[in-house]
Amino acid sequence: MLELKVLSKHFGGVRAVDDLSLAVEKGQIFGLIGPNGSGKSTTVNLICGVFPVTSGRVLLDGKDITRAQPHQTLAAGIARTFQNIRLFGQLTVWQNLWVAQNGLEDRQRENFLRRWMSGNRRARESVEELLEFSGLADKRDALARNLAFGEQRRLELARALSAKPKLLLLDEPAAGMNLEEVGALDDRLRKIQDRGVTILLVEHVMDLVMGVTDRIAVLNFGKKIAEGTPAEIQDDPAVQEAYLGGAGGRRAAAAG
């Protein structure tokens, strides 16, 4: 469903993403891993349209979305979360989900006012359902900035699900979580997958990636060095080289 075709992004002389080609199948949880600074987050930002691409194409269900802006890629069916949580801190939990209810109007209705009203009603129902799903129902009136860290992650995930995306891009959703929370995230990702949402998971926490993904691609210095099932990736010498061979250590300070 998602295809990257020889995608590149250069920042000055740095090739953050270099001729990357990927194909994510519908219904998969696809892992994207690699040492720090290997271009994972940049890839997410290219897919969403945060950065303009240097060359290559991004296709969603065969449709070219390479030049789409972030709100257009969302409308096309791609939602995301951020590596460093970006909630609307001064808004309540409920409002955070409410502003994210986009593209839900009932287009069958002719009358604009009716359509707007029914859109509003569906939006409210959708918010309630997401509050329930993320276990934040009792926090609905709390300001997002006052939530605990784990709750903020859950809220951001719920916010990303608000637009009923076809594809969900998760940028290190387990960063900063303890083992118990990672376990709960694992369950939640499977539930999201059961709803028919395809997931592209960028992650460092290996337990999560190896346990939950159907297929994994490994990046190093912006290039794909391996792709396969979790078992194949674990045995791949090139991957072991990238992680253990010092490349990760040298560039550990660089942003993912």
């Binding site: 972030p70 709100h71 951020f82 609307f88 409410w98 502003v99 009136d141 990303a160």
Partner: protein
């Protein structure tokens, strides 16, 4: 009595001006263009009543609509830049409008005298209110009816999804885009609504002062326009009103007995107020306390 009514009028008009900046500030944009839109509304409404003999209400609506359309046109290029660059861009626009009126001459004979904008001399004889027998009290009432209508509309907007969307854009533009909010459309809409509201304020201002000139619409007025909502707080629309009462009622009028020392104290008190109440006079805490007081009386949650 007339002094108090005059102050009431001034507070009403300045609150409308402050609210025009409030809408734009919600999206995180600092605009110095509000005095320009205020001036457009003032000149156009005054020309329509004085030169074309219109009723004041349609004249003000047309003036405000022109201001809104200009805001929309200016908004597209201006809102591509952010922060200090936007301040510079909107300041430049405000000065452009002021200098336009400085050079704008369009007079027609009305009986014995010539009326209409006369460049640097200004636009005198905007005599709609006296000609139609409105008393000072009528005018004050007119202003406050409009102000309350605008405040109710913005209050409703604040509580609807549109208000949350504006605030979301103000908080984090990238996150707002990633949940599907069209940044340009949101910012330009806020800018146009702000321009329209400023235009309404200008339309009334021109008629109750009866004489306007380019210097009325300077950067100083634009600074006041953003100072009100910032001092009052962006939590809800009442903050702007309280800030106008605080500045125009207490600081400007209340301290008049101090003579020239007033200006010095004026600045100092604003700095003190901002330090004591960093999120504005009416912040979340005040809203919560007031909300709670109301909800116990009604026996249910108000929010």
């Amino acid at each position: 009595m007339d002094f108090l009514l005059g102050l009431t009028q001034l507070i009403g008009v300045h609150t409308i001006l402050g609210l025009s900046a409030y809408v734009v500030l919600l999206t995180g944009q600092v605009t110095i263009a509000q005095a320009g839109f205020f001036g457009i509304g003032a000149y156009i409404a005054a020309m329509l009543t004085t030169l074309a003999g219109w009723h004041i209400v349609p004249a003000m609506l047309v003036g405000a609509s022109v201001a809104g359309v200009v805001a929309c046109i200016v908004g597209f290029p201006a809102l591509r830049v952010k922060g200090l660059m936007l301040v510079v861009a909107t300041t430049a626009f405000g000065e452009f409008v002021r200098l336009f009126w400085f050079n704008f001459d369009y007079q027609i004979a009305k009986g014995e005298i010539m009326v209409g904008p006369e460049g640097g001399e200004g636009f005198k004889q905007i005599r709609y209110f006296p000609e139609n027998g409105w008393t000072t009290g009528d005018v004050a009432l007119f202003i406050w009816v409009i102000l309350i209508a605008i405040m109710l509309a913005l209050w409703w907007m604040d509580r609807s999804r549109a208000g949350a969307v504006l605030r979301a854009v103000g908080e984090d533009e990238l996150a707002a885009q990633s949940v599907g909010i069209n940044l340009t459309a949101t910012k330009v809409t806020a800018f146009a609504v702000g321009g329209f509201i400023a235009g309404i304020g200008g339309g009334i201002y021109a008629h109750y002062t009866t004489h306007i000139e380019h210097a009325n619409f300077s950067v100083l007025l634009a600074t006041f326009a953003i100072a009100y909502p910032i001092l009052g707080g962006l939590t809800n629309v009442t903050g702007t009103l309280f800030a106008v009462v605080f500045i125009q009622g207490i600081l400007v009028e209340g301290l008049r007995f101090m003579g020239d020392w007033r200006n010095l104290l004026f600045g100092a008190l604003i700095v003190v107020a901002m330090n004591v109440r960093p999120r504005g006079l009416i912040d979340e805490r005040v809203v919560m306390i007031v909300g709670r007081a109301f909800s116990t009386r009604k026996g249910r949650a108000d929010a």
